[in-house]
Every structure is written in C-alpha cells, then in structure tokens.
Symmetry: C2
Subunit: 401 residues, 2 copies
C-alpha cells in the first residue's frame, strides 16, 4: 500500500451521538422500551450459531402468540415494515394476477404500487380517506373483478381508522377464492387482532409501532394455504432478498444460510415480544384502549374533534381535526421545540386537516398522555385556537382515575 | 372486547436474553465494537426529526470517506448486505439488459440470481473458486457479450480471495460501455478500496464485516452516471422497497417519507464509521494487514497452508486449507464448544477444503488472533492432524512484535 500512503486523506470529524430527548407520540417509531434498548447492546453471536437458531424458534413462537395464530410461517423479515409488506405482496401476487386494494388511505396506494411491481394487475375498492371499507363495497368489487388477492389495511396509520368487522371482509374474499393480506403495521400488539380466528391469510407489521421496538426486523405471518401458493409459483418472485421460498431455508427446519440475519434487531424484537407475553396480549389491547381513551378524552375535553367516529377509532393512532385558523405544521414544530414531543400532521387527502397522535406500546402511558395533552393544548391556545387546555387535562385526569 | 375476554390465552414463557459469549472470527458478523453496541441503546428520534436529518448527512459524509468517493449517492440501505446488493443490481439492470458476472465464488452466483430477477440476461466470466478473475478473461467476455453491467467481487467471502488490480477490470468494462458494480461487502473498512480512483460505478457492502457493526443498514454508493441511468429507467425497478429513485426522495435534498428508516441501525453505523474516521481509513487498512498477517503467520507456522497465494490474499477473510484426515465441521464445532470461538468451513466448490477465518474491524486484534491460533492448533492437534500448535503461536508472537 506504500504507493498510496504518501497523502493520507482527511477524515470527517463527527461528534458523539447525542440526539435530542424526544417523546415519540407520532405515527411511529414510538418510544422504545428500555429493556429493548438494553437488549440491543448485547454482544452478537453468528446467524448460524446453535444458540441463535434456538432464539429464532423463540421469536417465532412469540410472534405467533402476538399475531394470535398457529401459522408455521411466522417470521421477522430483515428490513422495516415496508420490507415485510413487499415480502407479502411480492411473493403472493404472480405476474398477470389481480390484486384488489383499498383507496381509503396512504397504505392501500402502496399496496397497489407493490402489486404492480410484482407484475400484477390492480383493481380498487373505494372509500374516502378517514373511513373504513364497507363490506358491501368489498363484496361488489370481488364480484366484479374476481381478484386473486385482496389487501386491506387493518389500522390505517395515515387516517387513524380501524377497519371494523374483519371477518366480514375475509369471508367475502374467501367466497370469491381470493387470499387476504392484512396490513397490521399499526395494530399488532396494540389493538385486537386475531389472525386465525378472523381467517386472515397473510399479515405483516412493523416493530416500531405498538411493539415499542426499533425498526429493522418486521413481523410477517402466512397461512399454510398462502405459503403453498408461494412455494408453487411458476416464476420466482422478483426480489431475491424477499423471496419467501428462499427464506424458508433459513427460518424453516433446514436453517441454511440465505442472508445474514440482523442479529441485533432480532434480539430487540425478542425482548419486545417477551414484554407482550409478560403483559398478556389481551391486557395489552385493553391498556391501549384505556390510555388512548384518556388521550381522546383530553382531546375532546379541550374542545377538539376526533376525525374518526368511535365505531372505527384506532387507539394506537388518533386522528384529531386541526381547529380553524391553525397551521398543523406550526403546531407540530412548537410541541417539538417546546416539549421535545413528536406528533405529526396529515398525509394525502387529509394533509392539513388532521393531527396524527400515536399511543403505542410502551408510549401508551399516563406520562405520555399527560404530556401530549398539555403540549397540544398549550401550542393551540398560543396559536389562537379556540381550545380550553385546562378542560383537556381535567378530562385526562378523570379518564385515568 | 368483552366477548373475547372470557378465555385469556396463555403466553409463551421465554427467558431473559443471554446468548453465549462468542468471539466472532468467522465470515461475519464480526465482533461489534462496544461503542457501537452502546450507540444502539440510545433512545430513538423520529425518521423525519430535524436532528435525524442532520445525522443522515453525517452518515453519508462518513460513508463517502470510507468508500473513498465523492459520490453524492452514498447511503445506507435499510436491510442487510444482500439488500444493498439487490438495490444495486435491481436498479441498475433493466429488463432485457445483460449483466456479466463472475463464477469464482458464491457471491457471483448471487449476482446472477438477482440480475435474472431484475429481468436481465446473465453471461459469465469464468475463474475457479479460490482464484481471482483474469483481466484478459474479463476483456474477452466483454468483447463477446457486450454487457450493460459488469459485476465483480472485490473480496470474495466464500473463498478468501481479493481481486487485485481493480482498475484493469474497470478500464476494460468502461471501454465496452459497461457500468461496473463491485461487491465490497468484506473489504469496506478493512482492505484498500478506492471507489473513485478505481473508477467503480456502484459499490455495496455490509456493516457486519470490517465495520464491526451489526447487520441492518448497509452501505451503497453510486456514481452520478450510474444514478442517472437509474433515474432514467423506462420501467420502475421491480422492488418498491429498494427503488433508488424513491429512496432519492428520502436521502436526497427533499427528505420526504419513503419508509421508516431503521433509526437504531443508522445510529450504529454512524458510530462504526466514526471509529473508522478516528483511526483513519488507511491506518485501518494497515492494521488489518498487520493483524491478519499475524494470523496468517500463525496458520503457516503451525504447518497449515493458505488457500490463496499472497498475490490475492484477503486479510479480512483467511482461507486456510483443511489438513488431511480432518473434518472441517468437527473442528469448527470443537473451537465453538471449547473456546466460544466462531470460525467457518468452506462453501460450494470449496466445501470441506477450507476453513474461513475472518479478521475484521474491531475483531482484528492481538487477543483474537492469539485465541484463534491457539484454539485452531489445539483442535487440529487433538483431531490428529499433523500440526505444531506451539510453532503457530510462536509465529504469531514474532509477527506481532
């Protein structure tokens, strides 16, 4: 290397990692549980170490518990929630097949995008942003288009809408021989979700929402029937990285090398799922409902309006109408600057119309609810909105009692 | 939820995370630096937080330094090294285009697999496993096939071979108007690599090798010319998750939402790259050469043979011939059981013929070299191989002096 050592190059000087101390009540990532963060500082073992193979079994068992499924094909995908989403759609949709997707939020649009890239044709079932799908509309779309795959979003992060009565959708789809893919990114571990009982064929999620785990290894589950379809494809999926028939070699009985698993993210997910198991999945759903209920009480108490009626309120992501005369971006900036608190504005059809306030996992706590209502009330009042911050915080106290 | 609360389901009981205390001297992941592990326990900020946007700039600057490039398009891909690899190939190869790949190791085969899934045609330039490509063969293959893209592996993890004289390959490719993709998974941060000076168009790597960082966010760099090709594709890449024209929106000037970045992995990569900058990239290359040199001295000193001659010895991954009468799998198991040390056997054409011993990043240390030579000498002698463990450790002492 001597011929190069004459002029050593200058290295950039970058200071010690010291991010601000945020409270994350936006659409995710949410505050990570301290035990999960600690797990991430654990020294690594190899991705084929016998101890890691055991740990993979544990993670799969915990994921099954959390998804409420017996699906053998339940794994963390090595990427963020969108990677799990593309693994689901890219493997399930074959070139020339048709996928039915919803138009009632940002993530239905992403489903369409991924289905097209898989070589599929996309048809749509409509509902306005901020509303759930109507089972009758789904039934009509299924009858009209006869799709191979039907996707829906159980918990729409862009609109704060929970899709109620999932079995009405899955029954309709199965009557038309369509497999059902559910986006459960913002519901898994926070909102009632029963993959087997509700007959969902494929569900994917992100760890950085109600599981309080950093993004990087993302839950995915497939029924035997769905996996059978994946394994009998005529043409290989268009991504090697996300090819479930290859991942089967690693996460299945063989435990053969496919790619180097993100060891630390799997450690983190395991710890996050242990916390779910310790709390009990149903208790955890109730805690989200109770704490997000207090948040909602505070929002309504100060004089604001929820975007979704109670029938399809999504506890993990609360869409709150932006009051007249207020700029949502300015309010988000104010609470970030003054309270180190992250909340978000709307997207797409609801841009400028709503605040999106998460209440997820470890962050679904009295402390975070109190902070959020206090900060939001203060920022809105200062901006001249017609709100009563004291009544808001009073309603929270009442709800938490 | 009352109708479901009658029978609470039983949660799996999974014990505290407590993996064995391994020393990782296999093909990766390697031992993670304690500062990097500590960085991973840092509380998160949001992926659009102003502080995170600043931190993204820092990571990009540090990556450019480490790759020795001025490429604007230098980012961590949200996945493991194979995700960065598929991002490179899946974006650069358009349907109907031709990619020239090498056959001299496992990862050339993976390149072929990914190029085909991108819709490309694959042609090959041959060399035996355990040898580098001959520039004359590359030249002939370029002339014969006129490929759009030429891929090669700078540091073949499956064979312990370093491709020498990279400019001979890139010059030939550019003479034939092919863009060059380099697999630098096992060289980045450990072995001399000069992306700009060597005229490499696209390079990708893994963080879990010579950067001593857990897998999960993986370095990728593209020249302006390569990125121009990506941005002017006729058809969108076949993966939405890995579509660089969309990632451009997030990592480029706009900083618009594409997917939730793996915050903690980016924290880790930043810290790992800070360690590179503190040490100095060229000093780091020299340290790898010195420590792996001591490892090699120990191997040869005890009477074993390196698989690669010195001309294309890869310091970060040492391929050692398995001596006669010994089973490589048993030796790997013995050093794992008796010394908590991970090394690996061969793959593919070299299965059973070589041990693969990494010497990467933080793990390229006197302590690890001493442990490895001691453990390997002990296990081989116990298995009845004709080796002299004392001479091995003596040669290490001599080399480290």
């Amino acid at each position: 290397m001597d011929h190069h050592s004459a002029g050593e190059v200058t290295a950039p000087a970058v200071s010690e990692l010291d991010p601000p101390n945020r409270t994350l009540m936006g659409p995710g990532p949410s505050d990570v549980h301290p035990r999960v963060r600690r797990a991430m500082s654990t020294p690594l073992v190899g991705h084929l170490d016998p101890s890691f193979v055991e740990l993979m079994d544990e993670v799969q068992e915990l994921l099954r518990y959390t998804f409420r499924t017996e699906n053998e094909w339940t794994i963390p995908v090595s990427g963020t929630g969108s990677a799990a989403m593309e693994a689901a759609i890219g493997n399930l949709v074959e070139p020339g097949e048709t996928m039915l997707v919803p138009t009632n939020g940002y993530f239905g649009g992403r489903m369409a995008e991924m289905a097209r890239r898989a070589g599929g044709d996309v048809v749509e079932v409509d509902a306005p942003w901020g509303e759930p799908l109507d089972p009758a509309d789904v039934e009509s779309a299924l009858a009209a288009h006869d799709p191979d795959v039907f996707g829906f979003v159980h918990a729409e992060t862009s609109t704060g809408v929970l899709q109620p009565d999932v079995p009405a959708l899955t029954d309709a789809a199965h009557d038309h021989d369509a497999l059902v893919v559910a986006d459960t990114v913002t519901s898994l571990g926070g909102v009632e979700l029963r993959v087997d009982e509700w007959d969902i064929d494929v569900a994917y999620a992100g760890p950085q929402k109600c599981l309080s785990c950093p993004p990087g290894a993302s839950p995915l589950t497939l029924s035997d029937e769905a996996m059978e379809k994946v394994l009998s494809r005529e043409e290989a999926p268009r991504s090697w990285y996300l090819d479930l028939s290859l991942l089967e070699g690693y996460w299945g009985d063989e435990r053969a090398y496919h790619h180097t698993a993100p060891i630390t993210n799997v450690y983190a997910l395991r710890e996050a799922l242990r916390l779910v198991a310790e709390e009990g999945i149903e208790s955890r759903w109730r805690r989200h409902e109770r704490l997000a209920g207090a948040l909602k009480a505070g929002v309504v108490g100060m004089g604001l309006e929820m975007n979704a009626p109670d029938d399809y309120w999504l506890p993990s992501l609360n869409a709150v109408r932006v009051p007249d005369g207020v700029d949502d971006g300015e309010i988000c900036q104010t609470v970030l600057d003054d309270y180190d608190l992250e909340i978000a504005g709307g997207l797409g059809d609801l841009a400028g119309d709503i605040f999106r306030i998460g209440c997820m996992g470890h962050a679904a706590s009295p402390a975070n609810v109190v902070l959020t209502i206090t900060a939001l009330g203060d920022a809105l009042a200062t901006a001249g909105a017609d709100v009563d911050p004291d009544a808001g915080i009073g309603a929270v106290r009442e709800a938490l009692r």
